[in-house]
């Protein structure tokens, strides 16, 4: 027990003084997720607002030929501005990106309307430009609506029910609840927590074998009158402490970031208060032992620090695999999934954020199976720490 504690406290002290470990445990991991998340959310908020509420400017050549159309467009939150001087100018402006879209109304527009000849307008846009494409779509939709309106009026004038033109009425109903919609976007956050947690212990895990070996401190350490099992346990638990700190920080930084995100504008109300932060911490806690022993195990097979870093970056991605597969197949939480570490934590976390009642059995299975896997890997690490090949 004393050996274990001696190793444990030495590793804590050693790594607290190591800037690289501290950066990855206390800054990189916890900050990466929330920053990334804020970025993605802001992007989707921008887009959402763009589509519905913001007004767009539409340069029009020949406004004077279609005053009614102009009023109609303005009623759809499209601001009419003066366009280039002529058609050539319009094409040029769209080509070089000065305008995303330009509407040209020829002189004879009014005349053709009056004569019930299809009246011609020209809409210049650049299909290769995705932003411009969005603006063009909006202008096109507005023109189409105007077209329908006129058609309806013409039919009415001739005593025909304009409804004849609408054999089908499509009404889209989105059944997702605000919390449910949040879960879709917040689904990725469980991975951020796992990522932060792994980052926190990465350097300690490497140090246990590859690091000690490269520094030349492994052989003297192994020649001491202690059992190797105690050495490795002390090291793995020290890694766990850093990982727990990393996890807690990333949960808290997420909590803070979410407070400042205008999520209501996206119709999302994630359930991520302090009680959920605490619950998520304890839910992910068993994963720490698994992560620490997995990283130690992988690092023990490598020849050098650099090689260990390379392989551990693969380990950082591994927990996403089950999450990814389930998201792609859109599977509902099933009891079998609770056996799979990382996936079970993800599914339970999503339920928590959706504010759905927790399934106690699911939580119990998740905790037990993750702990079991962790214990198994730790045992394998201890076994491997006894082999001669360890010395490299």
């Amino acid at each position: 027990m004393r050996t274990f504690l001696t190793v444990f406290f030495k590793e804590i002290l050693d790594n607290v003084r190591d800037r690289r470990t501290l950066t990855s445990a206390l800054i990189m991991g916890p900050i990466f997720g929330p920053v990334m998340f804020a970025f993605v959310i802001n992007l989707s908020i921008d887009r959402a607002l763009d589509d519905a509420e913001s007004s767009m400017e539409l340069p029009v050549i020949g406004q004077e030929h279609a005053p009614n159309l102009m009023r109609f467009l303005e009623s759809r939150n499209i601001d009419i501005v003066a366009g280039p001087d002529d058609i050539n100018g319009a094409e040029e402006a769209v080509k070089n990106g000065k305008h995303d879209v330009v509407l040209v109304i020829p002189e004879e527009f009014g005349e053709q309307l009056a004569d019930t000849i299809p009246a011609r307008v020209e809409l210049f846009s650049d299909e290769a430009n995705s932003q411009g494409e969005k603006e063009a779509r909006r202008a096109r939709n507005a023109l189409r609506a105007y077209n329908q309106q006129l058609a309806g009026m013409r039919l009415s004038a001739r005593g025909i029910n304009p409804m004849l033109l609408r054999p089908i009425n499509i009404d889209e109903i989105d059944v997702s609840t605000p919390s449910g919609r949040s879960a879709m976007l917040l689904g990725m956050m469980s991975y951020f927590f796992i990522f932060a947690l792994l980052m926190g212990g990465m350097y300690l895990a490497i140090d246990t074998t590859a690091g000690e070996r490269e520094r030349g401190s492994l052989e003297p350490l192994l020649s001491l009158p202690v059992t190797r099992g105690q050495l490795i346990l002390g090291k793995i638990f020290a890694a766990c402490v850093f990982m727990a700190a990393s996890l807690l920080l990333s949960l808290l930084s997420f909590y803070v970031v979410l407070k400042f995100m205008p999520l209501e504008q996206l119709g999302m109300t994630p359930n991520f208060g302090l009680p959920v932060v605490a619950a998520a911490f304890f839910l992910l806690l068993p994963f720490i032992l698994l992560g620490a022993s997995l990283m130690t195990l992988v690092a023990s097979f490598t020849k050098s620090y650099k090689e260990a870093q390379t392989w551990l970056s693969v380990v950082l991605i591994a927990p996403t695999l089950p999450i990814l597969i389930v998201s792609i197949l859109t599977l509902r939480p099933e009891i079998e999934f609770m056996v799979i570490p990382s996936l079970s934590q993800h599914l339970i976390l999503v339920d928590m954020v959706k504010n759905e009642p927790l399934n106690g059995l699911h939580v119990a299975i998740s905790v037990c199976s993750t702990l079991l896997f962790g214990a198994l890997l730790t045992w394998i690490c201890a076994r491997l720490y006894r082999r001669e090949g360890l010395l490299g």
């Binding site: 004393r2 052989e219 020649s223 001491l224 009158p225 202690v226 001669e388 010395l391």
Partner: protein, 242 residues
């Protein structure tokens, strides 16, 4: 007292050690001499139990290095070749870490660490972090932590490698001190003069085998060479011819 009885060790197809036997008694300095790659380090690594022999056995004060390795480790202080320190810990913390791992009584750790630091003359830099220490400083601190639990048997693998003249001399003085205290000192080197200057007994190893062993005078006599270097060369050739 270290007894080595016909140990063998192979790494894949390479036979590093092929039946090495010798005794290193208490109160004497035994030198393991041999060219690079002769099997000196492998032999010592078996003795401080990080490697297991394929055949043969070795005991440290009667404790078998394979079947009773924990007890064997208790009785040795080892300075492996190129031993490294923890750069974020001070020299004192490095030594104290080993003192605690060796199970020295908690209340005595502080005193014991200070004592060994004084003995090895490293007070000057004892409370600095070891990052950036010179090779000589590193070797001294490594030695301090190997000796902190006051082991009866001391195993040093090429301890003077990379040391300057002054550092080598102070290390030599220390080894002599250990001898006077009745310790068993076993150290390896490929430097002739160093072994001649220090050792009571020499065991010359070449090609993973003991070419010749005994006192310096005995070796001179048996090889018929007055000059020790010549004796060394002819002993190695004897093995090579087999």
């Amino acid at each position: 007292m270290i007894k080595v009885d016909s140990i063998h060790k192979s790494f894949g197809k390479v036979q590093a050690v092929r039946g090495v036997s010798f005794d290193a008694p208490d109160g004497k300095i035994t030198g393991l001499l041999g060219p690079n790659g002769a099997g000196k380090s492998t032999t010592l690594r078996i003795l401080y139990t990080v490697l297991k022999p394929d055949r043969g056995s070795a005991t440290i004060d009667g404790a078998d290095v394979v079947t009773d390795s924990l007890a064997a480790r208790q009785k040795i202080g080892a300075l492996p070749h190129g031993a490294g320190l923890y750069p974020h810990l001070t020299a004192r913390e490095n030594v104290a870490y080993y003192a605690n791992l060796c199970g020295i009584d908690k209340a005595e750790v502080g005193d014991r660490v200070s004592e060994i630091i004084r003995l090895l003359e490293i007070e000057e830099f004892a409370d600095r972090r070891t990052k950036g220490f010179s090779q000589g400083q590193r070797t001294k601190v490594s030695l301090a932590r190997a000796l902190v639990h006051d082991p009866q048997n001391v195993i040093l693998d090429e301890p003077t490698n990379g040391l300057d003249v002054m550092a080598t001399r102070s290390l030599r003085r220390l080894i002599l001190k250990l001898k006077d205290a009745g310790r068993c000192v076993l150290f390896s080197s490929h430097v002739m003069q160093e072994v001649a200057a220090l050792c009571d007994d020499i065991c010359i190893i070449a090609n993973g085998q003991v070419a010749i062993d005994g006192s310096i005078d005995g070796i001179r006599e048996r090889t018929g060479q007055e000059d020790l270097e010549e004796a060394f060369v002819s002993a190695i050739q004897m093995v090579g011819e087999e």
